[in-house]
């Protein structure tokens, strides 16, 4: 492991998370945030990942980050 001086900043986050109970860690990590369009249907299915990617590109707002562009 890198010494303290060269430790990346986010390693402190990982070390802090490792000290929490798994119950608390999960509670902190799974946060429901409404995503427009994506969360507006109870069920969606796609025959291929290509079809899914195309649907995301054509239907989701760009700012959600699902586009490959």
């Amino acid at each position: 492991m890198a010494n303290r001086e060269s430790k990346p900043a986010d390693w402190e986050d990982f070390e802090a998370a490792a000290k929490r109970s798994i119950e608390q860690h999960i509670r902190n990590s799974f946060v429901h945030t409404y995503k427009p369009v994506l969360d507006d249907a109870k069920y969606r299915s796609f025959d291929s990942m290509e079809e899914y990617r195309r649907w995301c590109k054509e239907n989701l707002p760009d700012w959600l980050g699902y586009s490959r562009d």
Partner: protein, 155 residues
């Protein structure tokens, strides 16, 4: 809809094991179970696409409380590459053909067991995000790569 908590993961694990479902926690949710600190909304599950496994997946999902119509059940049993469920106790994405991974069995061999859960390896989680190459994947990769490095130093 209730939030996904550790007891939700335990219940999912118990029910999937009872039905003999072959699955892996995947994506950011898998990384979180390995200790990664970040937030996500849904649970990503990578599932073996063989028909007998898909039949077990449907039975397990129904037992967990997901409300699937007969048509939806048949669709999943016939085999899809991606299914998004927002009709159960928590949000879940069923992934049968993730980018960057050829065969479920390969990912299964590389899996990590933690807290009693089968979890895809960080190499597979990262490799799939690199292959998917969406804006949100590109944004999350530096931190995931850093976590993999941290994890290697803390084994």
């Amino acid at each position: 809809m209730a939030a996904f908590e550790f007891r939700s993961a335990q219940e999912l694990g118990r029910v999937f094991e009872r039905h003999g479902v072959k699955y892996l926690f995947f994506g950011k949710s898998g990384a979180i179970l390995l200790g990664y600190s970040d937030t996500t909304q849904d649970v990503d599950l990578y599932l073996d696409k063989q028909r007998h496994n898909c039949v077990k997946v449907v039975a397990a999902l129904l037992e967990l409380g997901f409300r699937l119509t007969e048509e939806e059940q048949e669709e999943i049993e016939r085999g899809k590459d991606f299914v998004q469920l927002r009709n159960g106790p928590f949000d879940v994405d069923l992934i049968f053909a993730p980018d960057g991974i050829e065969r479920f069995d390969d990912a299964w061999k590389r899996r990590v067991e933690k807290h009693g859960f089968p979890i895809a390896s960080m190499d597979d989680i990262i490799g799939s995000k690199q292959a998917a190459n969406r804006q949100k994947d590109r944004e999350s990769l530096p931190r995931l790569l850093s976590f993999r490095e941290w994890l290697r130093g803390n084994k």
